[in-house]
């Protein structure tokens, strides 16, 4: 597979390490009253859709960027890739 790195252009998937569901970026609030239950979901439960999926890839053999890659798990078509830090910051802005 080729992954369109937002800074480096098309890069071979072999340069990356795969993590999985981009929801792993949404670490629960440790101070919430039901924090333990929320962390259980966060740690152990993942979506595994057949179709469009947002997932985390790490450019380990490259610039060490974490990317959020939108990929169709059925066709392997890649619909986009963003820097995870941009996504995380935007998410924070949005939730303010």
């Amino acid at each position: 597979m080729l992954i369109p790195h937002p800074l480096l252009g098309l890069r071979d998937a072999q340069e990356f390490t795969y993590l999985g569901d981009a929801n792993l970026m949404n670490r629960p609030d440790p101070n919430a009253p039901n924090a333990e239950a929320m962390f259980c979901d966060y740690v152990f439960l993942r979506d595994n859709p057949a179709g469009v999926h947002r997932e985390l890839w790490y450019h380990e053999q490259g610039d060490r960027s974490w990317l959020v890659v939108t990929r169709n798990t059925v066709t392997h078509e890649i619909l986009g890739a963003e820097l995870a830090s941009d996504v995380a910051l935007a998410h924070r802005e949005g939730s303010k």
């Binding site: 080729l2 962390f39 259980c40 995380a88 910051l89």
Partner: protein, 981 residues
């Protein structure tokens, strides 16, 4: 000899070769198969199950029968198709799957037991008695079945892998591929043209058709001359594109020197990973046969293959060129074989055409509305039975060409779960529209098989590819070529009671398919597994569609309703050697050498693999005969004098930024960031699920500058997790990370005389206990100006330091310390002594941090701060983890000098030894020269409150037991005074 006139062989270059130790002669341009046929050799192998005598069926990579062991000794390559083995001088080949000679194979008796080997026999027989399966039946079946044998020696050749990129990849250099490559190359695109053959031309080389009124080879030669002028075109002969992968990536194997006895200074094969913006699949088509009774004798082959041998290799597949040949066909194309053979003066018995209204194309005997219903000839075809209506007659016939129509080679177009679609006119599957993106099928593999249509379609595919890439396609002049329509009958096999082979290589007959149908193995996937149809090395290239047709007939469904199997790579077999691409032996994975490796090697160190690292394990001295002797000596030297150990492999992460301290507080369970400048703190890292993950130290070198260490094993993973936290969880923090594991050589200087030794290398640095106490750190210079970092930390429990210098000075610093410390008894120590020293001190390592243990179990429960959040903190408090009562303890054997084994399980004395009564396990064990016996560490239920209790360590694997006393987890200097000294 059965050489005919003409052909693309060089009669001036003769090659000598052997088959089953008999010497023959062939020519340059021959394959092993064509050369054997030219020598009148028709018997080339034995079938898989029944050991039936077999000859060559095809003239290309689809060959199911003629498989040989090529070469000898370590280079022996089993299951090589003689049809694609390019002849070279000195080639050595052996037939396979036989006991005794090829002509007399003892396992030929299997054929007489054929009723026992019907479809699914494997699942039905050999069921009883049960114990016989493993000891008797399976070894017996495995010996009887199977094809070639491995040499059981290491492959002496080298392999390589490479990466290529292009605009247009053209797969196949037949009519369509050549036209596509020409158009693409003229347009200026970067083009790669691959063909599995050693010559360009595909079927243009094997047909007698003319282009612009001249032999097709003239056109190919003129193209090859023009191709030479294109710097943007790369031609790869002997290269099979075997698979389509995501996003325009294609796998290909180039057989660089398979056509030589030995590769010399070249690699044997290269695995190419080709990234192509567009690909044109011009893979051609494969002829299918028509199953009839006893259709598997040597001499019965595909009609187009017979034509190919005559036209390209100038051979007739008979004992003598005077023997008559017959053709059995259900279509017009079959008649061409008769015409081509006649033009080479081969006697023709006639053309047997299943169609009542069969057309006649030449002056030969035509058996219209007839079928071949039987054959004779044990080791080679002698007679055939021709049946017309109810009348059967036997005819002398040395070879029979069978033409059942063409199957487009849809394989690559059907990767990625693309489904081929049925074409009722062509009576074959053609590529579907849902094939791999960017792949354009053209020519015969798209169902356009006449020469003129293939040429035009290749050019059209190039135009499509180029326009999609925004390039202008030039008009190319294509030569005039034949464009004969081919009429064909919907006729798939000759009905009858005797065995009619569908899949030659796996010995699957029409009867087997009928049986599978009877036993309700109707879906094509079941059919395949029940009968093993299409599961041999040829993957059913000549059999799958015919088998579907038989099943369709039985079920009353159409062929497309019956289904197709899913196509997967590789198109033809790929050797594991080339997939490894040379990554064998020491090159299997990267090897990392420590900065003191050269020095350690010069000292005669034994090395051990620690992940990718090669670390010095111990340093044997003259007179030491056992590793334990060396290790004991090294460990004692550290406790008595001073020892040196390369600890570079521990991960080092440089953490900088205004929020670096806050970041570390969130990564580590304890308050890591508040360590004072110039101090080091021990830290514990959890996984987010609450289990202990990794430990290390954090040295604060400046207000905004920390260096943390990780265990050797987790160096890469911890760094990855830290980057994840920095980028994905807390991007708002001002913190930067870089791994500096390889940048600094780090040497532990441990032992009571370590300060004395260190004083001799530092440049005016006060090492006194007051000025530089335990857990101090500093930047300084050593050896008159070399920048260094010094940490007063101790893994051994002795007064100890770790000194880091730029990695390139590692060897020099080690040598200097050894030289300066000779009067202090300085001793290098390896990982074994390092392990002994840390077990003696009860320090956790990989065996204790195995991913199943908690901070509490380690006795570090208080290190999980409740004042702040950190990775894993919330989950570490969940009940299941918090209530785990096992604790790290020391273990001493009682009344035994036997070796204590790590991994032994712990039980109360007198208790049954079951999972329910299991109380923990021994994590680490070693011989301690300071205790004078074996010692161990382990996790024990309520271990912290069971000091001095005697328990049992059971090793059920070896059936041994040992009594142990529970002691505190430090065997040396329990108060920890030495390291603060």
């Amino acid at each position: 000899m059965t050489r005919l006139s003409g052909g693309l062989i060089d009669r001036n270059t003769s090659f000598s070769f052997t088959f089953d130790s008999k010497t023959y002669t062939g020519h340059e341009g021959d394959t092993l198969a064509s050369a054997l046929l030219a020598n009148g050799v028709r018997l080339m192998g034995r079938s898989f199950k029944y050991h039936r005598p077999r000859g060559v069926v095809a003239a290309g990579s689809e060959e199911p029968n003629a498989m040989v062991e090529l070469r000898s000794g370590a280079r022996t390559e089993p299951n090589t198709r003689a049809t694609v083995a390019e002849l070279y001088d000195g080639l050595v080949a052996k037939s396979q799957n036989r006991i005794g000679s090829l002509a007399f194979d003892a396992l030929g008796v299997n054929d007489y037991f054929a009723p026992f080997f019907a479809a699914g026999f494997y699942y039905k027989t050999f069921m009883w008695p049960r114990a016989f399966w493993e000891k008797l039946y399976e070894p017996m079946i495995r010996r009887a079945a199977g094809l070639g044998r491995l040499s059981m020696q290491a492959d002496p050749d080298s392999y390589d892998k490479g990466f290529l990129h292009c605009d247009v990849l053209v797969i196949g250099a037949g009519a369509a591929g050549l036209a596509a490559a020409l158009a693409s190359a003229r347009a200026g695109a970067q083009v790669i043209l691959c063909d599995e053959d050693f010559r360009l031309g595909g079927r243009l080389m094997t047909e007698s058709h003319r282009l612009d009124g001249a032999p097709a080879t003239d056109w190919i030669s003129s193209l090859e001359a023009e191709f030479e002028t294109f710097p943007n075109l790369r031609i790869m002969r002997r290269t099979t594109v075997f698979g389509v992968y995501d996003h325009g990536i294609y796998g290909a194997v180039e057989r660089v020197s398979d056509h030589a006895a030995e590769p010399g200074d070249k690699v044997r094969q290269t695995l190419w990973r080709i990234t192509a913006k567009r690909a044109i699949l011009a893979a051609g088509a494969t002829e299918r046969h028509i199953p009839f009774a006893d259709n598997d004798r040597p001499g019965v082959m595909l009609g187009a293959a017979m034509r190919a041998y005559a036209n390209r290799w100038a051979v007739a597949p008979t004992k003598s060129a005077k023997d008559p040949i017959a053709i059995f066909t259900n279509n017009d194309d079959g008649h061409r074989t008769a015409l081509d053979l006649m033009s080479k003066n081969v006697p023709i018995l006639g053309v047997i055409d299943s169609r009542e209204n069969a057309p006649r194309f030449g002056d030969y005997d035509l058996f219209a509305g007839s079928m071949v219903t039987g054959t004779k000839g044990r080791l080679g075809l002698k007679e055939i039975e021709i049946t017309n209506g109810g009348t059967a007659s036997w005819h002398r016939c040395a070879a029979l060409g069978v033409s059942g129509g063409w199957n487009p080679n849809v394989h690559l177009a059907s990767h990625h779960r693309g489904r081929p679609v049925w074409d009722d006119t062509l009576l074959s599957f053609v590529p579907g529209a849902d094939g791999p993106a960017g792949l354009i099928p053209a020519g015969a593999c798209a169902g356009l098989g006449s020469t003129a249509k293939a040429l035009a379609d290749g050019a059209k595919a190039a135009r499509t590819a180029l326009s999609e890439l925004g390039m202008k396609a030039p008009d190319i002049a294509l030569p005039d070529a034949e464009d004969m329509p081919v009429s064909q009958a919907d006729f798939w096999h000759v009905p009858g009671k005797k065995r009619a082979w569908v899949d030659f290589q796996n010995d699957v007959t029409v009867k087997d398919i009928v049986l599978a149908h009877k036993e309700n193995m109707k879906p094509v996937e079941h059919l395949k597994r029940w009968t093993t149809l299409g599961m041999a090395t040829d993957q059913g290239k000549t059999s799958n569609v015919s088998a579907l047709a038989v099943m369709a007939e039985l079920t009353g469904k159409s062929i497309p309703q019956t289904g197709t199997t899913i196509f997967r790579s590789p198109y033809t077999g790929v050797s594991l050697s080339v997939l490894g691409g040379g990554d064998t032996g020491v090159n299997f994975r990267p090897r990392r050498l420590t900065p003191t490796h050269t020095w350690a090697k010069s000292q005669g160190a034994e090395f051990v693999e620690v992940g990718q690292w090669m670390r010095a394990q111990y340093f044997p001295q003259a007179g030491e005969t056992d590793w334990r002797e060396s290790v004991d000596r090294e460990a004692k030297a550290v406790r008595k004098d001073v020892g040196l150990c390369d600890v570079t492999t521990l991960g080092k992460v440089d953490v900088q930024g205004a929020d670096a301290g806050e970041f570390l507080n969130r990564m580590y369970s304890n308050m890591m960031g508040t360590v004072a400048v110039g101090k080091v703190r021990y830290g514990l890292m959890l996984r987010e699920d609450g289990f202990a993950y990794d430990d290390g130290t954090c040295a604060r070198l400046g207000e905004d500058h920390y260096v943390v260490t990780t265990t050797t094993a987790n160096a890469g993973l911890v760094y990855r997790n830290m980057e994840f936290a920095r980028q994905c969880l807390w991007p708002e923090l001002d913190v930067q990370l870089i791994s500096t594991t390889d940048a600094w050589a780090q040497i532990a200087i441990a032992g009571p005389k370590s300060r004395l030794l260190l004083e001799r290398v530092v440049d005016e640095f006060d090492l006194s206990n007051d000025a530089f106490p335990f857990m101090g750190c500093a930047k300084l210079t050593v050896c008159k100006g070399l920048r260094a970092r010094l940490f007063r930390i101790s893994f051994s429990g002795e007064l100890a330091y770790e000194i880091a210098v730029p990695a390139r000075y590692g060897n020099a610093l080690m040598a200097r310390l050894m030289e300066l410390g000779s009067d202090l008894g300085v001793t290098p120590y390896g990982t074994e002594a390092l392990g002994v020293l840390r077990i003696e001190k009860g320090h956790a390592a990989g065996a204790e941090l195995n991913g199943q243990t908690t901070a509490k179990m380690l006795g570090l429960g208080r290190m999980v701060s409740v004042k702040k959040d950190s990775i894993g903190a919330v989950m570490s408090r969940r009940e299941g983890l918090a209530s785990d009562a096992r604790r790290l303890v020391g273990l001493l054997p009682v009344g035994s000098t036997e070796r204590l084994m790590a991994g032994s399980h712990l039980f109360a004395q007198g208790a049954a030894q079951t999972i329910e009564t299991d109380q923990g396990w021994v994590t680490s064990a070693c011989y301690s020269p300071h205790v004078g016996g074996y010692i161990g560490l382990g996790y024990l239920e309520n271990g912290d409150t069971r000091m001095n209790e005697e328990i049992i360590a059971a090793n059920p694997v070896e059936g041994s037991e040992m009594r142990l006393r529970v002691v505190p987890a430090h065997f040396v200097d329990p108060e920890g005074e030495r390291l603060r000294d």
